[in-house]
Amino acid sequence: MIPAEFDYAAPRTLAEATRLLAGTEGAKVLGGGMSLIPALKHRLAAAPLLVDLGRVEGLDKISVIGGRIRIGGRATHAALMSHPDLARVHVFAETGEVLADPQVRNRGTFGGSLVHADPAADWPAVFIALAGEATLVSATGTRTVGADAFFQSLMTSAVQEGEILSEVNFALPGAKTGTAYTKLRQPASGFAIVGVAACIRAERTGVIDEVRIGVTGVNGVPFRARSLEDRLRGRAVSGPALRAFASEIAEAAPLDDMHASAEYRRHLLGVYAVRSIERAIARAQQG
């Protein structure tokens, strides 16, 4: 399997990268390449020019400044899993552990996973649950897009041609806040048949003060389970009541494919939502 020919540039700065992108129609950004390169090899994608972000200074930086986590567009899955400032945000290591495999985690990037918007990728659920905000840079300017508006349709994110996702930032989850991610792996590809990320602030009594739930694998687009969040907020819900709420997520419009029927995905969504919520609450109560 061999890609079609393309030209290649490896700029040192973001400005140069956006200029190169603007200069060639159809040019694509090469980040970790874990989705793009297989697509090029299978000739499902082609580009006259690949702009490799691999040499852009500082784009792989992860930092916590002023209560916000800033993740550079090229930070790898592995870097997120092992970063000391992220250690108490369980969802990073937890998602990383069940995402692909070590080799892929060494190359693949958080930003790339969002931009590619694969409906079964893991990070989009986390991005949504943590209310992330993406910074998109182009030759004409910079804009930010919040998680709720980021995923638009099947395999399509808010990132436009010519734009580069330079950074993602989140509020660092505070006290009494727990995060979790659980998924059922598709046994062949390792992608999520269903993946649910939860970020919950809860009292010791179990009352949920704040909750955000991100879902991947189920619909053609990763989504936020607002209907469930609304039923949980301000209450202490567990056991059968939680299961009942989780089984009725209004936003679910499940995919149906050879790996899982729509019906099964809908059912799993409830199961994994409960698992992530319970885990996040338990962590919130410890924190």
């Binding site: 399997m1 061999i2 890609p3 079609a4 020919e5 393309f6 030209d7 290649y8 490896a10 090469l30 390449g33 874990m34 390169i37 297989p38 090029l40 090899k41 299978h42 690949l50 490799d52 691999g54 592995a78 552990e97 692909a100 495999d101 070590p102 080799q103 892929v104 060494n106 190359r107 062949a188 590809s189 390792g190």
Partner: protein, 158 residues
């Protein structure tokens, strides 16, 4: 278009002129004659092509040679000599961690990366760390034994 690259391959600087679409695995196998790195799939799922890029295990079928410009690449051929095998190679030999041998270079490279991060992995950790490597012959058990063997001898400084 051709691009000039300099890659340190198994400790030796190599200057080359490549077309950008050249996959790293093809460049290693066909231009450098390092055929120990194998190709087992096209989807980055089998791990037969695993090499180390700046010390980290990566799949060389999902990388362009141009991306390795300025980097250190270590392949199976750079792991050990006939009379000075790497402890991971030794582990695979001692524990019959291979049969047809096709997945083996990738397994060895993935294993040595694991042991660099975790000197004493549990069986569950080993199995999890080999998620990206498929073996069709061994059923994995003797590979797990091989990794444990290597971990032991590396801890004991052999």
């Amino acid at each position: 278009m051709r691009v000039k690259i300099r890659v340190n391959v198994n400790g030796e600087a190599v200057d080359a002129d490549v077309v950008p679409r050249t996959l790293l695995v093809h460049w290693l196998r066909e231009e450098q004659g390092l055929t120990g790195t194998h190709i087992g799939c096209e989807t980055s799922l089998c791990g037969a092509c695993t090499v180390h890029l700046d010390g980290k295990a990566v799949k060389s079928c999902t990388l362009f040679a141009v991306q390795a410009d300025g980097c250190d690449v270590r392949t199976i051929e750079g792991m050990g000599e006939a009379n000075a095998l790497h402890p991971v190679q030794m582990g695979f030999w001692e524990e019959h961690g291979l049969q047809c041998g096709y997945c083996t270079p990738g397994m060895i490279m993935a294993t040595s990366a694991l042991l660099a991060e975790n000197a004493n992995p549990s069986e569950a950790q080993i199995r999890h760390a080999l998620e990206g490597n498929i073996c069709r012959c061994t059923g994995y058990q003797q590979i797990v034994n091989a990794v444990q063997h290597a971990a032991r001898s590396m801890r004991e400084g052999k």
